[in-house]
Amino acid sequence: MMVTSKRRFFQRDQNVGFLFTLPFTIGFFVFTVVPIAYALYYSLTNYDVLTPSVFVGLNNYINLFTGDAVFWQSLRATTIFSLVSVPLRLMFALFVALLMLRPSRLSSLYRAVYYMPSIMGGSVAIAIVWRRFFASNGTLNALLGLLGISSSYAWLGHPNTAMLSLILLDMWQFGSAMLIFLAALKQIPQELYEAADVDGAKRSARFFRITLPMLTPTIFFNLIMQIISAFLQFTKCYIITEGKPLNSTLFYVVNLYYQAFKYYHMGYACAMAVFMLVLVGGITYIMFVTKKRWVYEV
């Protein structure tokens, strides 16, 4: 009997594999590619959600770069936030991961406890708690009072300290980076450390000459992922400060949200989104290009 062509189709691994990836591919196409294409299209129009869009060419982009002080302010705030919170978070994560290398009976407990903020931290509930924590009649001032420093300072009311509170919240969620570092640390071959001991290396040399170089691929990965997610932060700013005071804590995506859903400038917001795509893509590209200089590939 002849093998039917259907049977032959399914016999080739390639085709079966393709079919298995179809759910993801369809989802990716419908929920990611198509919206991005729409955003690209709407960024060239003055779509305001309620009336049909009118093509305006590059007007949105021109207005964005030349006429919008809030846009530059939000970009500045988001960049400061990313450049400060990401390195701090990674350093903290690495520090805690190094502490947890020592096997102890409670190490699994510690790992769970230190990972918890990562899970809960991005939520609205924690953001609200954080807002109360830093309020002028909130927990932080109460704690300072217990230590003898009477304070009713409005931590969120001043531009510098407001940004600090957001950075602190981001640093608090170091759990996922910590776990990745822990896994990478455990993979560093012990022979290297033994060889170093034989050569009489000090603790600091062990860290800076062996541990850190061997960790650079992980650091690279974490850095890229964390910087991208830092640029896309929304909940923290929207719940805790809404960009105040003086727009000093206005994140890029929150500004985008206001433009789109508060002022109905959807086309303009799409232009902002496209710019963010280019910006983040550019940063990632630069990091990959300079990778060879500092990342030690085994």
Binding site: P159, P245, K262, Y264
Partner: protein
């Protein structure tokens, strides 16, 4: 054999799904509104009465704490064409929504009598009229009010009455601040509303149709200077605390938390305020200061119920609006939390059955509605952005970044760009 079993199982699953889908012909109406906890409780109570009299109808609520979040969420849902069946609308976006066909025209229901507006003054029905149709029905009337701590005012020998002038109010403010250290909150976060009242006082209005209604930046400068003086001299609450609280949310208002003796509120928030104050002091309510009260005062349809054009159950929604307007029982429960009822006879009727704070708001609205001048119920496109810009510039003045004069000029220049760009 295996294939047969698999086929049978799949068919059974399909049958079960379809069975569940067609089992109940239950109607679920989606409703959205904003407001305090007490408003939520009262509204849910009247809706459960509706469910009792209409078996099979249940409600899905979307409750927001302030108008800002509500309007943003409605904008998002409007973009997806998924507005709730019945929702509380804000005046700022009414015209845009009507023009894009998002709202149901209520004229046929008014004409048929399903929505009985016979006891409602024509001027109020007109508040929901855009073009040829009526698209929303005012929940109730309210007006801006000063909500104050009457106990402290009495102790300091300050007389608070209707139609105080700005001079009288400023004296009162300073007296109470000197004696007790308590401050005022002149509607920080909604400065453009205060600017509008002051502009009306001077014979203008913040908006004139789709343009700015003031001829130059002097009124802006005056208002910004007022706030700056207040913060520098100490009798106005500092702007720093308005990052950790959201302006407009009654629960966190400085009057409640204790740093102010006077705040600006909508008259219909009297109940919510009283519940939160909980007998710690006596609540008083009076009109916003004005040098020309009749010119300045206005009665707002700040809330109105609208029906989405896509609703599957317009008759049920119309009936709900009808009950809110005309049912004595419902209004006794609501107790003017949504504003003084627009149906004249109901308003008279509930004055005797409500108590305390609701009486304050009803009396104030009654007074203001008889001593006020007309106001446009709709805002021009771009009003939301202009309002945010005003708040931002005031913030910059209060933080010492720019002077009131510079801020006023920037606002005036920005107005033409924001209001015309839309």
């Amino acid at each position: 054999m295996k294939k047969l079993v698999a086929l049978c199982l799949a068919l059974m699953l399909l049958a079960a799904c379809t069975a569940t889908c067609y089992a109940e012909e239950e109607i679920t109406l989606r409703m959205a509104w904003w407001g305090s906890q007490s408003r939520a409780e009262k509204t849910q109570k009247i809706l459960s009465l509706f469910s009792e009299s209409h078996p099979g109808v249940s409600f899905e609520y979307e409750i927001y704490s302030n108008a800002g979040s509500h309007n943003e969420m409605m904008a998002t849902q409007a973009a997806a064409n998924e507005l709730p069946d019945l929702f509380q609308g804000g005046a700022m976006t009414l015209e845009q929504w009507v023009k894009s066909g998002m709202l149901l025209d209520l004229t046929p229901y008014i004409e048929s009598g399903a929505l009985d507006l016979s006891n409602v003054p024509e001027s109020i029905v007109d508040q929901g009229r855009i073009g040829d149709g009526v698209y929303c029905v005012t929940n109730g009337l309210n007006c801006y009010a000063l909500a104050y701590n009457a106990t402290v005012a009495k102790e300091c020998g300050v007389e608070m009455k209707y139609d105080m002038t700005w001079d009288e109010f400023n004296t009162a403010t300073r007296t109470i601040f000197e004696k007790t250290g308590l401050k005022i909150n002149m509607d920080y976060g909604f400065v453009s509303d205060i600017i509008d009242l002051v502009a009306r006082d001077r014979g203008y209005g913040l908006y004139d149709g789709n343009k700015l209604g003031v001829p130059d930046a002097s009124i802006f400068e005056e208002v910004f200077q007022y706030y700056l003086d207040g913060v520098t001299e100490g009798w106005h609450v500092s702007p720093e605390i308005f990052v950790e609280i959201t302006p407009g949310v009654v629960e966190t208002d400085p009057l409640i938390t204790g740093s102010c003796w006077c705040t600006v509120a909508s008259s219909n928030q009297a109940n919510a305020l009283a519940t939160l104050i909980d007998d710690q002091f006596e609540l008083g309510m009076t009109s916003i200061p004005a040098d020309n009260p009749i010119q300045s005062h206005k009665v707002d349809p700040a809330q109105a119920f609208m029906i989405s054009a896509n609703t599957k159950y317009p008759e049920l929604c119309v009936e709900i609006i009808n009950n809110i307007t005309n049912s004595v029982e419902w209004n006794q429960i609501l107790a003017a939390d949504r504003g003084v009822p627009i149906n004249g006879s109901i308003a008279e009727g509930i004055i005797n059955s409500v108590s305390g704070a609701s009486t304050l708001s009803i009396q104030l609205v009654k007074y203001v509605s008889q001593h006020s001048s007309p106001a446009s119920p709709t805002y021009p496109k771009g009003a939301e952005e202009f309002s945010t810009q005003t708040n931002l510039l005031l913030e910059q003045v209060l933080y010492g970044v720019i002077t009131p004069a510079e801020a006023a000029q920037q606002l005036f220049d920005a107005a033409s760009k924001i209001l015309s760009a839309n």
